[in-house]
Amino acid sequence: MAWFRKPKQPLRSADKRDLPSEIFKKCNGCGELVYRERLAQNAQVCPECGFHSRIPPEQYLTLLLDAGSFVERETNLHSLDLLEFHDLKPYRERLAAAEQKLGRRDSVVVGDGVVDGIPVCIAVMDFRFLGGSMGSVVGEKVARTIRRALELRRPLIIVSASGGARMQEGIYSLMQLAKTSSALARLHEAGIPFISVITDPTTGGTTASFAMLGDVHLAEPGALIGFAGPRVIEETIKQALPKGFQRSEFLREHGMVDRVVDRRELKQTLVLLLRHMWTGWDEEA
């Protein structure tokens, strides 16, 4: 037994673990502890590894729109429980809990805004609200936003984050795919740009409708984007899925997404695209 052996020092990370979580946040990408303030300065993108943490609609509106330009619309709509759906919990209770927790009435925020001087109509989904699922209210708010873009002749931006159709609204939720896509058919014919920004995660009926109907598709790095969820596919084919399957980069390689864009460069990219596709906006303004 050595008398003078240096007592083993606990690993440095043990100190880190004691650091107050209000100052640091562990990155889900690289595991490093990052100053919350630095994360905030980087739009919740890890400055070490570039991992994009999910952010709520308000942050996207701040990030993408000119300061103070956002005017929220269609705030009065809220979901009904037409099927009186009751699984392990009644749908009404799930709705009320989400409303209470998030202080909004459904999983999408819509309105008007300005992007570097260009007036746009915008919708941003909130994955935290029942998984960003699309029921009647989401379908109607998105459809109204599309119609407004058509009426005012303003480019449309939709930031998606959604698990797909809302099962608790049954066939009504499925038909929201048709409602939103039908309105987009007219926007398409009117020659008004629609840029679809796809964030983590976007699957199911949301991908199988407006998220995949943009003139240009931008995706945040590493976002899960697909039709079927990875678990459903694994269960169907009885095989493990390859690494990176259904991530933004995979979709870009397979031709479903135009560009994978770092969140911090999203606005700049939107501006460039809008100026290419939307000539004449300033004459009309």
Binding site: G135, M167, L174, A178, H188, A208, L213, I237, G255
Partner: protein, 321 residues
């Protein structure tokens, strides 16, 4: 004919049918007259069929919609139409056997038919992928619908799918994009479009060929945002609760009609569509002709407006502070 498969709740019907068959056989062997007995049993059988099929639970309806003996798209094609010319391929990747399409004549008029196609045995199902299309199936559908539009012919679609296929290749080739594009493009077709749900209306995979001016449903067909099994697995955390999920999803034809999504229910013969393919076909044909006659009088712009207004009106919400 393949072995007549039947569902659990059809057992009494099958038993009674066997009795009648046995009676007829022995009568023939022994040369005796059993016509009055057969008449009585036959009447009893009809009553039984009606009784059983009028009181199906939602999950039983799902099973009837998936019945292995139920007529599929090509069974309707051969009964309803003449001059059938099947067309293949999406001109991009391959031909998808889960979707069939082509020119046909309905009562003398040229139409374009597109439908999901299920198989009845293992070999056919390998070719048909159990009626679950890949993106190329949807792209083929759209190609054929554009063809119909080019030559100003109406489109009739037959919906019968468990859903779009969830697989690696399907995702790589853009399952979601293919469905989304079909939905948007169907919304702007300048020709009449009538969709008939003949069996399973499985979510986005069904809607991708279902944006019609009219949606007709066979009595025992279903239309749902997710299968009862899938819904139960997610919301009840076990697929065993499919009975509850089937009830909760309100996926039967009567529910869809009540909610204004299905425009008409086509009643099935006693014992379901699988009991009498010809009679079912006749009823579908009659309904199709009636709806197409109405739509034929409409201008292209009016058809587009009608279809868009129909789908954009679906949904229920409250609007107050």
């Amino acid at each position: 004919m393949a072995t007549p498969l039947h569902l659990e709740f059809e057992r009494d019907i099958v038993e009674l049918q066997k009795q009648i068959d046995a009676l007829l056989r022995s009568a023939e062997e022994k040369g005796i007259d059993v016509s009055s007995e057969v008449r009585v049993l036959g009447a009893k059988l009809e009553v039984l069929k009606v009784e059983i099929f009028q009181n199906l639970t939602p999950l039983e309806q799902v099973h009837v919609a998936r019945h292995p003996r139920r007529p599929h798209t090509l069974d309707y094609v051969s009964r309803l139409f003449t001059d059938w010319v099947e067309l293949s391929g999406d001109r991009t990747f391959r031909d998808d056997g889960a979707v069939v399409g082509g020119w046909a004549r309905l009562n003398g008029d040229s139409i374009m038919v597109v439908g999901h196609q299920k198989g009845r045995d293992m070999k056919a199902n390998l070719k048909r992928n159990f009626g679950s299309p890949h993106p190329e199936g949807y792209r083929k559908s759209l190609r054929l619908m554009y063809l119909a539009e080019k030559f100003r012919r109406p489109v009739v679609t037959f919906i019968d799918t468990p859903g779009a296929y969830p697989g690696v290749g399907a995702e790589e080739r853009g399952q979601a994009e293919a469905i989304a594009r079909n939905i948007r493009e169907m919304a702007r077709l300048r020709i009449p479009v009538v969709s008939v749900v003949i069996g399973e209306g499985g979510s986005g995979g069904a809607l991708a060929i279902g944006v019609g001016n009219r949606i007709l449903m066979l009595e025992h067909a279903i239309y749902s945002v997710i299968s009862p099994e899938g819904c139960a697995a997610i919301l009840w955390r076990t697929a065993a609760e499919r009975e509850k999920a089937a009830r909760a999803l309100k996926l039967t034809s009567s529910e869809l009609f009540k909610r204004g999504i299905a425009d008409e229910i086509i009643l099935e013969p006693p014992g379901g569509a699988h009991a009498d393919w010809d009679e079912t076909g006749q009823r579908v044909k009659e309904a199709l002709m009636r709806h197409l006659d109405e739509l034929k009088t409409m201008e292209p712009e009016a058809l587009v407006r009608d279809r868009q207004a129909k789908f954009e009106a679906i949904g229920e919400w409250a609007e107050e502070d």
